[in-house]
Symmetry: C2
Subunit: 115 residues, 2 copies
DNA sequence: TACATTGGTGTAACTACTTGCAAAAGTATA
DNA sequence: TATACTTTTGCAAGTAGTTACACCAATGTA
């Protein structure tokens, strides 16, 4: 039986936010949904360069649980599932914009240092 | 011989930024340095709740390489090493502030969903 | 004398993340 | 008939991230 490892209670809004947005893909997914509004699963997968369906599904589920992403399935064949941001998710726009702005401003510096 | 796995070239300022800030601790470290200005290693370790010296060192090294963090050692005993943000690092303030603001605004909602 | 202090490093272990591959179902197209 | 399409899951395997623990040096304090 695995030991239950509970997260230390931090009581810090900043760290709690990071816990929700943690991982390699969440910011990129939100960025894409913010830009496109609504996307079908496959289109989202194509838009988030490098992600696998496995990971995308997993991340989307977490984001749903946290009330950031909305999932709308339709009973078609083949299946159609649309993903979009909730009101709460859209309120992350300033965060995404700030990262984007920093990236654009420091693009040259970054390019020189990443290898 | 391990296969050399190169990062796919993305040519996207947003994703490049995420690559630099990736991981569990970088935002928290930057947040702390932004708030305190300059901190000795041990004080920084105490301020970033939950981090180990091992991880802190590793992350600080990466942040130095990317020109975000500045390291200033003094020849004392026991050693004194001060860490602070560079100009470039300080320009991440809008990002940190946006995350902080979102966290404060969504605190109640987060608390209800994280377990 | 015994112990605490600081900024790290090394080793070994462990957990978490991430990937690739195959598969399902019902319709549409070649 | 064969193959593609979409969304999602399961399994196995691999890689990356993270931790714990001990240790160093030289000084200050009890």
């Amino acid at each position: 039986m695995p030991i239950h490892k509970e997260k230390p209670v931090l009581d810090c809004p900043f760290r709690e936010t990071l816990d929700v947005l943690e991982g390699k893909w969440k910011f990129a997914i939100i960025h894409s949904l913010l830009h496109h509004g609504t996307l079908r699963f496959k289109n989202l997968e194509r838009d988030v360069a490098g992600i696998t369906s496995r990971m995308l599904i997993k991340e989307l589920k977490l984001l749903q649980v946290h009330g950031i992403v909305l999932r709308r399935p339709y009973p078609t064949v083949p299946p159609t599932v649309e993903y979009s941001l909730t009101e709460c998710g859209r309120s992350l726009e300033p965060v995404i914009e700030a990262i984007q702005a920093w990236g654009v401003q420091n693009r040259a510096a970054l390019a020189a240092k990443i290898n």
